[in-house]
Each structure stands twice: as C-alpha cells, then as structure tokens.
C-alpha cells in the first residue's frame, strides 16, 4: 500500500517546499465553494486562479434563490480580494471540449490545485484526468471542503438526465466484470439500473465514518437499492468519506489480480468519486451517472465546524512529477 499524503490543507502543503499554485475551482451558491481558495490565499501561495461559475439548467423554482446566493458568494469573493475577471461562465450541460478548456488554462503551470468542492462530476472528472496526465504539471493537489450540513427540506437535486457515461468516460467496448458504486443520498436512477440489469454484480462503497445525519440517509439509499434483489448481488465496503487514497486502494483491491474490468457509478461523496476518476482514467473504465440538471440552492450549508482549517482537506495527487495514484 502506497503512502499518499492527505489531510488538513496547511499540513499537506508543509510536506513539500513552498510553491506557487495555479488554483482551479468552481464558484457556486454554496458557502464552501470558495473556502479552499480563501485558505490558500491566506497562506499566500496562489499565483493565478480560475473559477468556473456553472449555471444549472433554468428552473423557475430556484431561479431567484440561486441568483441571490450566487450574488452573495461573488460579493464575498470580491471582498476577499478576488478578481471578477478570473471567473468564467459555463452551462452545467456544457460539452466536453468546453470543460477541457478549463483544464487547458492550467496546463502551462507547474503546480495546480484543483478544488473539487463545487465542481459537478461531469466537470471535475475530465479536468482531473487532463491535469493528472499533463506532463507539464509536476505538482497536483486536490482540495475538498466539508460542509456543516446538507439541505434537509427538499431533494438535493432535481430533474436528472438518463443513465449515461460522464463526458470523456465512455470506456471501451468490453463489458465490466463488476460495478463499483459509491452510494450517496439519492439513488433513483441507480435503483432503476440495478433493477433492469439483474446479472450485474455491485460493489458498494459506503461512506463510513461519516456524520450521523449523512450516515442515516446513505444507509437508507443502500436499503432502497437492495430492496427486492438477492443479497449476493451486493458486496458492501466501508470507505472513509474523505479518504481518496483508501477509496483508491479499495477499488484496486476489488479489481484484484488478475485485474478484472470495472465500471463505476459515482453517486457518493466527491473524494470517493475522485478516487474512481483516478482509477478509471488509467484503465479506460466507463463511468456512469444520471446528471441532475437542477441543484438545490442550499445544497449544503456552512462549512464543517465553522473552521476552514478543519473543513478543508487536501490530497497530493502528483508530487515533483511522481503520480501517486499509478496502478
């Protein structure tokens, strides 16, 4: 098992000589969307930055709340010294070439921080792949900020698209031996897929340890998923919500030796999804998802413990040219 450093941002940075980082993030309605940038800025290590402001598909229901929350976030960004010219607009359902344009912007830099906190999966998967594969980038750090809580009053997202592969992660021709599924709060389309494909074996990655409220919802999802199906279709593995490295090791161990072909369904926490991405990009595995087109304006609230230091986690992906997640 390889040691891949991750933990509190400042500690993680301290493991390597000070660098000038290019920061890539998504500025969204959530308070946590600029937390990592704020902390890095306080550390004085950001040399340049690019934020994607990603617009959900238009929704009458959330339009005013989204607009107000975005304005609040941008005001906060400006107040902290952020420059509006570093923010670029994207549609949530942008095409792959546009998403790759974000990564291209960072490809001339030697050290890049990718903050996946508010990036939808259809964005950060291709971006992470491009950055990880780039020969010019020697140091790559992922950051992720845990929220204080998630919205409880309404579904976290609505109007999902059909079950498809994420842009750029269509995989090869061969059928996967196993499905690796990270379980989150909502599993509607996954439940449908499970029902329609009774032969497929599912390896469920269940976030644990996790906050109590999240735990309850996640296990409810597992119960929904399993309902009416034979037990031997599902193997459950507990994976720390925040530990990309442990999730990656779990995935490689599921693939086994000789290696079996995997397909992924990242419905769970972002760090686990990042681990899936790091594996899938090396094996051309398909990654399947039902993209929500509208997110709740209060998808998450606040930041964990109301403390940047404990809320922001950082993960070394590449260090001095070494890719720490090579299979």
């Amino acid at each position: 098992m390889k040691f891949r450093p991750w933990g509190a941002l400042e500690w993680t940075l301290s493991l390597s000589p000070k660098k000038n980082w290019f920061f890539l993030g998504a500025l969204g309605t959530e308070q946590r969307s600029i937390a990592s940038w704020k902390l890095l800025r306080e550390c004085g290590v950001i040399s340049a930055e690019l934020f994607a402001e990603i617009y959900d598909v238009f929704s009458d229901k959330y339009y005013h709340r989204n607009a107000a929350a975005l304005k609040e976030r941008k005001d906060e960004f400006a107040k902290l010294g952020g420059n509006y010219s570093s923010i670029f607009n994207f549609d949530l359902m942008s095409e792959l070439f546009q998403i790759n344009g974000i990564a291209n912007k960072a490809l001339q830099s030697k050290s890049v921080v990718l903050d996946i906190t508010s990036f939808p999966k259809r964005f950060f998967f291709p971006i992470l792949r491009a950055l990880a594969k780039s020969p010019t980038i020697s140091n790559l750090l992922i950051t992720y900020t845990s929220p204080a809580a998630y919205a409880e009053d309404a579904p976290l997202y609505e109007d999902i698209e059909s079950w498809k592969t994420l842009p750029g992660f269509g995989g090869g021709d061969s059928k996967a031996d196993f499905w690796v599924v990270s379980v989150g709060f909502l599993v509607e389309s996954l439940r449908r897929y499970v029902g329609d494909n009774p032969q497929d074996k599912m390896k469920l990655l269940i976030p644990f340890p996790a906050p109590l409220a999240a735990l309850r919802r996640t296990w409810q999802s597992v119960a929904d998923l399993e309902q009416g199906h034979e037990d031997d279709r599902f193997d459950k593995y507990r994976v720390d919500t925040l530990d990309i490295s442990a999730a990656f090791d779990r995935i490689t161990s599921i693939a086994g030796m000789p290696e079996r072909a995997l397909a992924f369904a990242p419905f769970g926490p972002k760090p686990t999804s990042a681990a899936m991405c790091l594996y899938a990009m090396q094996r051309d595995s398909s990654v399947h998802y039902s993209q929500p087109t509208v997110y709740h304006p209060d998808y998450s609230k606040g930041i964990k413990n109301n403390s940047l230091e404990s809320a922001v986690s950082a993960y070394w992906i590449k260090h001095d040219g070494e890719f720490l997640y090579a299979i």
Partner: protein, 697 residues
C-alpha cells in the same frame, strides 16, 4: 405453493446477451404478431411507443442471438417460416454513444461544426452498423443447424475483396485482403471515434485519413449488403434489416449548440430512411416524442420531410396495437393474460404443473360493480351522518333542500348499499335543472315518484364512478380498485405497468401468506384467488410507487410536480361537482386553436405536454367540441396507474373539463414548473472561457 417467489419481481429485460433465455421464456409471441409481421417484411418500419410497451423486445427478435436462444431451449422461433431468412444489424443510439459527437468541436467555430460534424456522425453510424452486420453474418453462418442456409460463409474472401474495392469508403479499405483485416480496419475506425468523443485526441481535429474518407450515411451499409449478395453469402431474397433503437436520444439538448447539432444529426439519419433503398430496410425504435414532432422529420440536404407510408411504416404501439386508454382492448387483454401466465409458469416451473388458462382472471377475480366498491361503508341510521355522506348537510349546500327531499334521500340511503348509491345519485339529480336553458332545479319540486337517476340508463352509468368517489370520500374512505378488469384498465395498455401492479399485489399476498399457518394458505396455482383488500392495497402501493418513480426519467421532477397539481385539482373538482354535471371531469380539454399558437410560451407548453405524453405520464387524444363550430380539441388524462394515488376514477366517460390555456399556465406557475429547458435568464456578469486560452495568450 412457494411463498418466497414473486414472479413479477423483474420488470424489464434489457436486450443484452445475458437476458436471452428469459426472453424466450417470457416473450408473448402469439399476441404480438400484429406488430411482428411488418418488422420482417420490406420497407422501413418505425416502432413507436412509451417506455416498457415492448419495442425493444420486438426489435430483439431480429438479433441472431435471440434465435439461437430459442433453438437452445427447443422452442419454435415466433416468426413465420417464410420470413425467417433475414440478416440484421443495428445500433442503439444511447449505448453506442454516437450522439456524443456533440461533445467535440473542430475548433473552427460553431458554423463549421454544424456543417461538418453531421458527416462524422454519419460516418460513425455507418461503421458501427457495418461492424455489427459482419458479426451477425458470421454468427448466422456458423449455425446452419439453426439458420439453414441463410448465410453461406464459403466465399468470404471474395466478399472481402469486393467490399474493399467499393468507392463508398474513399480508399479507407484499400489494402484489405482478409476478413481479419477488414474487421480490424473497421474496429480502428470505431476506436478512433470512441477516443475522439472521450476527449482523448491530442490533435484538435481528426487526422487527414479520417477527414478525407468520411462516408455517406447508409451507403457503405447498402454496399456491404450488396457485396454479401454478390459473393453468394446471402441470396438476393434475404433482406438486410438495420435496427436503430432509441432515436429519442437525439433530442435531449440543453444549449442552442446541442439542439442545433443533434437536430442536424437526426436529419442525417433521416436521410438513410428517405433513400428508400431496396438493398437494406431500416427498423427504428423510438418513444413517441422522438417521432411525433414534425421538426424532427427533416431530411439532410433537402427541404423534404419523412412521410409515413411513403418513407416508412409507422406502428404506434400505444395507440394502434394496444389502443391505449380504450375500455375494450382485445390485443392488450390477451397480451396481459399471456404475460401473466408465462411469468407464473417460468418462475414456478415444475410446481406450476398444468395451470388453468387465463390464470390472471381467476387469481384477481371479477371486476367490481359500483355497489361492490362501497360495501366497506357502514350502513347508518343517523340522519346527520347520512346528510354528511350525501353532501346535504349544512356544511355543503344545506338549506336548499326541503324537508321532503331530505327525508326522501335519507330513506333511500337506509336501504342498504344499493340504496346509498341511489341516494347520492338522486341528490345529484335533484341539483340539476334538466336542461341547459332551465334554471329551476329538480329539488325545487317534490321528490319524483319515478326514479330518473335509476331509469335513465346512460345518465346513471356515466355517473356511477363519480357517485362512488363522492360517497366514499365523504365517509372518509378511499375509492378502491381490484379484479382483473380494473388492473387491466389501470395498466393503460402498457405491459410494464400491468406487471408492476401484479408485482405489488403479489408482494402483498406473500406478506399475508407468511403470517398464516400452512393449512390456511392459498394456492394460487391451483384455483386460489387473492383477497380484494390485498389487491386494493397493492394497487394503491403500485400507484404511489409509479408516481414516485417519475423523477427517474429525464425532466421527471417537472412532470411529477405537474401531475401532483393536476391530480389534486381534478380530484377536488370532482368532489366539488355535487351536481355531477361533469362526470368526465377526470381529464382536461384544450382548444386546438389556442394550443397550436406560435407564441413562444405556448410552444414550450406544447413540447412539455408532448414529452409528458411521450413518457407515458399523460394520455392525449383529439375530440370534437361539444359546442358546435368550436373546432377540434385535445383531451389530456393522467396515466390510469396514477389515478389511485389521486383518487380519480380512471374510466373516460363524457367530456372532460374544458380549460383555457390560461388555467393551465396558472397551474404550471403555481407548481413552479419550468417548461422550457433552453431559457437562460440568469444575468451572466462574467465572460465565457475562450478555447485554448493558452494558445491565444
């Protein structure tokens, strides 16, 4: 009887290779002959229908693997012997990811993308189909014991040489001499497209080798078919049938660029249909909204549109085959009974023995009449309770009834369940005037000696369901459904809905059985029936579950919110209609003159409703206005499976409520439903990211 097996557990069977045995055991071949026949004859055929209506199962008959599966278990292939000699290949637009070409750009602006990407789409399509065609030919050729001499592989080298020489490839297949080479070369091409749409090309544009050899849609497929015939691998009489499934996939767009490009891809695909090439015949599977919009039927490079009967033969499985929503429907009835029987036989195997025919009818029992539906109500002697049940208490329209009428109605009500029903109908009749011009209500006169609410056969029949609904609601009970006919009717002509209801009823039955001692259990395989209360509970569960599953489909939340508002509103209006003036108030009707307006908001509404119909959430049909010279109208009803949740009788009787579009827009606004996905009113203060900014800097 094994009380751990629910034969309806699995609703869908996909068309992958692992499901073939299930397919053979469960496919209702006899019943579906009406749809099957045209599939194996000449000309292009389009199978349209809502999800779960059986399109994919029918198209699967074309796959050689399905026929092999039939042979393996010794079952006769359910296609007329004269039509079995065919070769088929195909592409599923979702699984092949061919529409992902929209994800790439040629980096020379949107105009160039719109002009050139459709050709790459066509090329990708051609290679996918030719690849599958060659695989199918090989599979068939290797199994002469099953396919007789449909394919003779002895002259394969000759075929390869001929096909490689064709000018339709623009030189891409030069140097090919063996079948292995041909397969590898085609696979390289497909692999290129996969890498491109996955964003794995280093160069911004495809290489010269691809750019200069783009093929015309359909031509390489037709030439390959020709070459197979020329080489004697298939005879001139063997039709080559090309499946194109999930065409609706080309119409999920979220930006203007995507919408334009996908429409252009669709036009390109339509060109293959428009060519009416006798060398190959296309077989399309699509949900209704993927075919009904005239904008989707344009043909690349021409002003023409595809036309039914001229370019293709349309089989609308919902409307033509299963006569969705009609009360009598012999094909669906036979289909559902057969599907039920096959499931039970398959899952209970030897235990099933020789099952009674029409098992579904004996297990679910008879269709309840109106009195049966209210037998759960307690008879009452208390006048206040009776007044409440009849809606003549002071909280309803009290005060307007003479004491004579009140006593008359109360006496009727006290005469058992039939009397209760009569009393509700009599109260409604009392509130009516007997004619449009008359203003005097019947109750202003003394109660009649005859009973017009009983003797006027149609007046009564049309109002029975409404009477039951109003009565049970006022008595704080629910309208209940049970019996085979109710289940068939709630299925709305969709076999998946039927199986879903059966699943939930069977589940309820198993739960109940497991709590009983063995000697008190019911053997459904041997003449037993499921208790009506278990059925009613299972049906309600299935209805709620179907409603909660609506968000599983793209755009489903909006439709779910819409259905919630509409369902609640229709139920309220029906309960409030104490005169029973609108016994058909379980739906709404819109004037086509208003509905066909080109106003943007109305256009969006049309698309929204069409999609709702396409996803099987609403049922739509045309009708004449009850007002002379008011033109044609469109009726909309909830899918019957949703009716138990909202407590709306599903039978369509009389005219539905006539709504103005304003009323519909009002309902949509209140539900905060977004009917257009292309609006982007959010003020965008920032710029868009230029492509390759580092190259520009």
């Amino acid at each position: 009887m094994n009380i751990t097996i629910n034969p309806f557990q699995q609703l869908y069977f996909s068309d992958d290779t692992q499901s073939e045995n299930n397919y053979v055991e469960l496919f209702s071949s006899e019943v579906l002959q009406t749809a099957i026949h045209p599939i194996f004859q000449g000309g292009n055929v389009v199978l349209s229908g809502t999800q779960g209506c059986g399109k994919t199962m029918i198209l699967s008959l074309l796959r050689p693997e399905t026929r092999i599966a039939y042979w393996k278990i010794g079952k006769d292939f359910p296609v007329n012997k004269q039509m079995r000699n065919f070769v088929s290949a195909g592409v599923n637009l979702t699984r092949s990811r061919i529409a992902d070409i929209v994800q790439v750009t040629l980096h020379r602006g949107d105009e160039i993308d719109e002009r050139e990407l459709p050709f790459y789409f066509a090329d990708f399509f051609n290679y996918l189909v030719v690849d599958d065609l060659i695989k199918s030919v090989e599979t068939i050729g290797k199994h002469p014991e099953i396919f007789d001499s449909t394919v003779v592989l002895s002259n394969i080298d000759n075929f390869v040489a001929t096909v490689a020489r064709q000018d339709c490839w623009f030189g891409y297949l030069d140097e090919i001499s063996t079948l292995e080479d041909l397969r590898r070369r085609i696979s390289q091409r497909i692999d290129f497209y996969r890498r491109w749409v996955n964003g794995n090309l280093i160069d911004p544009e495809p290489p010269e080798e691809i750019r200069s050899t783009k093929t015309n849609i359909g031509e390489p497929i037709a030439r390959t078919a020709d070459c197979l015939r020329e080489a004697g691998i298939i005879s001139d009489l063997v039709p080559v049938l090309i499946r194109v499934d999930q065409i609706e996939e080309l119409h999920r767009a979220f930006t203007d660029r995507q919408r334009k490009l996908l429409l252009l891809f669709r036009k390109m695909l339509n060109r293959a249909f428009a060519s009416r090439d006798a060398r190959v015949h296309y077989r399309a599977g699509t949900r209704r909204y993927g075919w009904t919009n005239p904008d989707y039927l344009g043909v690349w490079g021409s002003e023409a549109r595809l036309e039914n009967r001229r370019d293709y033969h349309l089989i609308d499985m919902d409307e033509e085959l299963f006569a969705r929503g009609e009360t009598r429907n012999s094909i669906f009835e036979r289909f559902s009974i057969d599907a039920f029987q096959k499931r039970v036989e398959y899952y209970f195997k030897s235990e099933a023995g020789v099952l009674k025919p029409h098992l579904a009818k004996s297990i679910f029992g008879k269709h309840p009449n109106a009195v049966d539906r209210i037998v759960q109500l307690q008879e009452s002697k208390d006048n206040a309770q009776i007044d409440r049940a009849l809606g003549v208490d002071s909280a309803a329209d009290g005060g307007s009834w003479s004491e004579d009428w009140r006593n008359f109605l109360r006496n009727l009500y006290k005469q058992g369940h039939e009397g209760m029903l009569d009393a509700v109908l009599a109260a409604a009749w009392g509130r009516q005037t007997g004619g449009a011009r008359s203003k005097r209500q019947h109750r202003e006169d003394a109660p009649p000696i005859e009973a017009p609410w009983k003797e006027r056969k149609w007046w009564r029949k049309e109002r029975l369901d409404l009477a039951v609904l109003q009565l049970v609601t006022r008595c704080q009970q629910r309208f209940m459904w049970w019996g085979y006919d109710d289940i068939r009717s709630l299925s709305g002509g969709n076999i998946t809905v039927f199986l879903h209801i059966c699943h939930r009823i069977w589940d309820g039955f198993l739960k109940n059985e497991s709590s009983l001692p063995e000697q008190r259990r019911t053997n459904l395989l041997n003449g037993g029936a499921i208790d009506r209360n278990i059925q009613a509970a299972g049906i309600l569960f299935a209805s709620n579950e179907w409603f909660n599953k609506l968000p599983e489909e793209p755009g489903g939340n909006a439709r779910k919110n819409f259905v919630e508002r509409l369902g609640v509103r229709l139920n309220e209006d029906m309960i409030k209609d104490i005169r029973m003036a609108y016994p058909g108030g379980n739906g709404i009707s819109l004037a086509q003159t208003e509905f066909n307006s080109e106003v943007e908001e109305v256009l969006d509404l049309r698309v929204f409703l069409r999609e709702a119909v396409g996803y099987g959430v609403l049922f739509e049909s045309e009708h004449s206005s009850k007002v002379k010279s008011s033109g044609r109208r469109l009726k909309y009803y909830l899918n019957p499976i949703l009716c138990p949740r909202f407590q709306i009788p599903e039978a369509r009787t009389k005219e539905p409520y006539y709504w103005r579009l304003d009323e519909l827009f009002d309902l949509i606004r209140k539900a905060q439903i977004t009917i257009s996905k292309l609006k982007k009113p959010m003020v965008r203060s920032n710029s868009s990211l230029p492509l390759f900014p580092d190259l520009d800097d």
